[in-house]
Every structure is written in structure tokens, then in C-alpha cells.
Amino acid sequence: MSSNTVKNQRSLGNMAKSVIRKQIFIPIAALFLLVLFNLIADPSFFQISYQPNSEGFNVLSGNIISIIDRASELVILAIGMTLVTSASGGQDISVGATIAIAGSVVLRVLCGSNTRPETLQAPIIVAFLVCAVVSMIFGAFNGVLVSWFKIQPMVATLILFTAGRSIAAWINNNELPVISDPKFAYYGNFIPGIPVPTPVFISILCMIAIALALKFTNLRLYCQSVGINPNSSRLNGINPQMIKFISFVILGLCVAVAGFIKVSRLSTINYSVVAKDIEMDAILAVALGGNALGGGKFNMTASIIGAYVIQFLTTTLYKYDVNSEAISAYKAVVVIILVVLSAPIVREKLGEFKKKIIPSKAVSKEAV
């Protein structure tokens, strides 16, 4: 009997250990902590209501819905950012600026030369396709600099980070076009009759797409091997430059989708504010997912959950009336704690520390 229970305890302990060791544990633990905090501080945080909105049909609303809704762009970006991080060992800091470009292109195509058109000048799908192509070209620009000119990703993307918002303003002659057609707003808000915000569906579509891509192509394997060791992957017949390039182009596509949602939310754009600081959030999502920021192995699910955690954190901070500008300070502290904890040297030290404590624990367990 007693030996059995000990065994059970041990296997439970092992199970706990293996769960903790799993990469996905980090974002889920963070999510759990945030949920717990909100439950204790104010349970009404989780209220979901089903009320008519300003357009007169019933929709779901509440903090949780708004988190899932608002996190959509971030989730989509996190997908691309994870691939880029894995393959190139660096991050793209131009995503916020390229979102501005993508949004600007959408508006330019839809509005034509008139900034306040009565009717759309082009079908929405055409606008989206043009914006996808443009974003992928900008992604390709970054990709070329990184893969063929061997410039560090963060510095190469610095170019678009500096120029992106200016280019976005230039595309529309620094005017702020407004689209009055309600159909365009469906993609960022609600489709009449469906109580869930559309961006949620778009982000789920993106997740399915990337899941299929990872399942049925060699994308995951190639990205990881290039990230771990470009030279040996080259010797194994993979073209590391091409893989890095492709990862940046995929990020470009993700940016296009995110930019499209962003402009659809407001039906207009503000070049200097749209998607501000989203690059930080996207990198944070990847880091929170426990992915190595230096490249190599990645876990897409963890990144996606990471993105939701970030949005959860943001919404929680907003709820406690933290100034939107000041939020970045709190996030920075979270980033620092995360990277410090995931630094190899700190891990080693923690491991040694654990070894000192755990033997005594094991002994006491045996005694019980």
C-alpha cells in the first residue's frame, strides 16, 4: 500500500515536472496568474453580456470578448514573428510601420483619388490582395537584407521602422481617407447577425492555415534547422538564405492581414498611431511563448497563447486606469523578468540552486 502511494506520488511528481518542462507551460502559467489576479481583484471582469450594440443587433460584449477580439492582430503577427525568430535568430521591428503601410494601401485602393468616396472604388478583395502583395514586397525587402546581405535582422528592419510610417503617409499624400461603406467595417467589427467579432474568425483562419502549413510542409523543420545552424543545414541541402527570405515574406503576409483588420476597425487610419508599439508586443508574445529569441526551435501554439496573454495584461492594466503610454513601462519589466529567467546562465544557477534544495525534499518524501 504505502509503496504504491509513494510510486503514485513519484509518478505525479514526474508528471508535474514534465508539464513544467514543457514550453507551453510558461504562457499558460502566465495566463493562469492573470486570470487568478482578476478573479480575486474583481470577478466582474469576466462578465459577458449579450446586448444590442450601436447598430441594433445583439452581440457579445465584455472584457474577455474584447481581449480575444483585440488580440487578433497580435496573434496573426506572432505567427509570422515566430517563424522569423526561428529562422533568422532575430526579430522584425518594422511590423508596426509596415502595418501602417498595409492599411494605407488598402485605403488608397478603396478610395482612389477621392479621400471621402461615397462608394468603394474597388472591390474589397482587390484592396486586400494589393495590400498583401505590397506587404510581402516590403517583407521581401527585409528578407533580402537579412538573408543575402547578412545584416542583423533588427538592424535591417530598422530601415523600415524609420521610414515605414512616412511611406504610409506618403501613399495617401498625408491625407486621412475615411470609408463610409459599412461593408468595409465588417472585417474589423461585427457582421450583422453574428454575435462574435469578425477578427476572431480571421485569426482562427490564420491559425488553421499555419497549422496546416506546419503539418504538411517542411516549413517547421527547415526553419528550425536554419535557426540552429545555417551552415550544417546548407550542407544538408537546405538553402538557408531562401528559408530566411520565405519567413520574412510570410511575416509580410501576416502584416497585411493585421493591417487590413486595423483599418477596418476604424474605417480610417492615423499613420503615427496605428499599431504603435505592436512590434514590442509581438516580440514579447514570442518570448512569452518560451521560444528562444536567438533562433532555433519554436512552438507556435505557445506563441499564440503568449499573444493572448499580452492582450490580457494590457486590458487588465487599462482596467486599472493605467495611462496607455505608461503601460509600456510595466510591459518592459515583464520582458526583463522573462528574458532574465530564460537566460542560460540564470537557468544554470537556478538548476544548481534546485539541486541543493531538492535532495532534502526527496529525502523527506521518502520518510513520509
Binding site: 538592424v155 521610414a163 503617409a169 495611462n323 513601462a329 520582458v335 528574458v339 542560460p344
Partner: protein, 349 residues
Amino acid sequence: MSSNSFQIPKLKKADRAPMTDTKVLLIITIAVFLVMYFCAVVFLGKGFTKPQTFFNILNENAALIILSCGMSLVMITGGIDISVGQVTALVCMSCAVHLDYHGGSVFTALLIALGIGLAFGLVQGYLIAYLKIQPFIVTLAGLFFAKGMTTIVNATQFNVENEEFKALKATRITVPGMGSINKTGVYVPAYVEIGVIVALLVVIFLFALLRWTKLGRSFYAVGGNNQSANMLGINVTHTKFMAHLLCGFLAGIGGFVYFMHVGSGSPSHAAGAEMNAIASSIIGGTMLTGGVGNIIGTLFGVLALSTIKNIVSSLGLDEAWWTNITIAAMLCIFLLVQSVVLARKNNKK
């Protein structure tokens, strides 16, 4: 291949090997600056022929020169620091609040500025050098922390009314022998602000540091090759730490100089200064891969960058986007040049 001849004493040879790339890039930068300024004088005429135009470029960019010097130090060791711009904003805001709301003196404000810079340098340096975290991530977090802290200290812009500070801000040093005759026919001597003197002192100090001190040489060694530097007995960790510490400290000084120039505190101060600093360093011939760079080049990098800004604005294209786009284009071109230089170097090997 004459540098391979054996008559040259060993020490000098070690000095010379990393200097060749530096020289090529330095000459490109100085040439670009001179050509640009010359073109501006020829095609845009009057404004650029006045000495004061040149000194105004210095006055406006004294802080940027200091920030870029710090950035070059870090980049020579192979790191990067993108927090400097927001640290500048934080320094401005803290000093402004200290002077106006707490009735502090200029001296204590200066101490605060240096303290903030040192604190950022210490923490970031420790995380990067001793915990071996990617510099970009650490300083990105530093950037956002400084940004958030600036708004926490004070969220709105205001001008400093402290008399002592105003006197300091208005102090102008005339440049002997330079000047121009203005519209009413009065001779106006050219002047510079205190910040420029500070910036030039920093440039001279860092030039000497990088050229003649053990620490300066070990910056190059660490940036050139971590492992060989380690085998030569250089404490790589400590060197990297010192580079980031110095960069943070310089960000503090640069922040105060910026504060002296603008005389106000605002969360949007020095927005994008880190990008300008990185761009200046790169244009000035500092290689991102580390081990190559020159403070004089950085100085010319800042001058080239700000001349382009002036040209763009005097062409009448003063919509903000053109400045950014030209800076980005310049950054792109110089990055490609570097990449080519590096590729050639690797081929030689």
C-alpha cells in the same frame, strides 16, 4: 599586402589590421559629407555659405553627437543600444520636473541626469554582459521602460522657468573669426551653445580612449572576435559591460545637453533619436558586426545626416516624411556598402 611585411613592429601591425576597414569607411563618410555640403552651397546657395548655418547644425545636434558616440562604442564591441533616445526623453522630463516643481538647482539636475544614464547603463550592461542576454532585447525593454517612466514622471509638455537654468541655456560662445553680415548690415559673430563644447570634449575624450587606452583597444578586440580576445587575456564580459555602462552614461550627458538645447520636458522629446544615432554611427563607418569604427567617423556621420535633413527641408520638401525616408535610404545604402566591404574582407581570407 604591404602591411604583411615583417619590418613593422608587432604592436603596430595589430593596430593596423582593424584600421584599414575603418579608414575606407571613414573616407567614404567624410567624402559624402563634403560633397553634400558642397552641393548644398552650390545649388541651394546663400543659407549654406554662412558659417552660422554650419554652427546651427552643430547646436541642434550636439546631443545627437554624444548619443551617437555612445552608440559607436557599443557597436564597436558588437552590441547595440536602442534605449538612448527614450533615456534622453526621461532625463529631460526628470530634470524639468526637478527644476520647476521641486525647486532644484541646475547642479542637482545634472546629477539626476548622470544618475539616470548610469542606472540604465549599469542594469543594461549587467544583463547583456553578465547574463548574456541579447543586447537588442534588453535595450528594447529599456526603451519601453524609459518611455513609460517618462509619462509616469509627467505626462504633459512644459517649459522650464527656472532662472538659473534659463541663463545657462541662453549662454552662447562666439566663435572667433567667424561671422556674417546680416540683412541690416550688422556683423553678427557666429556662436555655439555650451552643448557643442561638451559634445566636442566627449568626442576628443572617446577618440583618445579608443586610440590609446587598454580599455579602448579591448573594445575593438572584443568586437572583432570574442574568443580571440578572450584568449589574449581580455576580460570580455567586463569590456562589454564597460561599453554599455559608458553608453548609458553618455546617454545621460546627451540627455542633459538635449535638455539645455530645448529647455522643456516632454514625453515626445528625442523620439527616434536612437534611430538617428544608429544611422549616424553606421554612416560614420562603424560596422554592426563589431570591431570596426571610429569616433571621428561618427562625428561626420552626424554631420552628414543633419546636413541631409537641412537640405531636405530647404528644398521645400519639409513634410516630415521626406526626412525619414531620406534617412532610411541613406542608412540602407551605407548598410549595403558595409555588407559589401565585409564580403570582400571574407573573400580575401
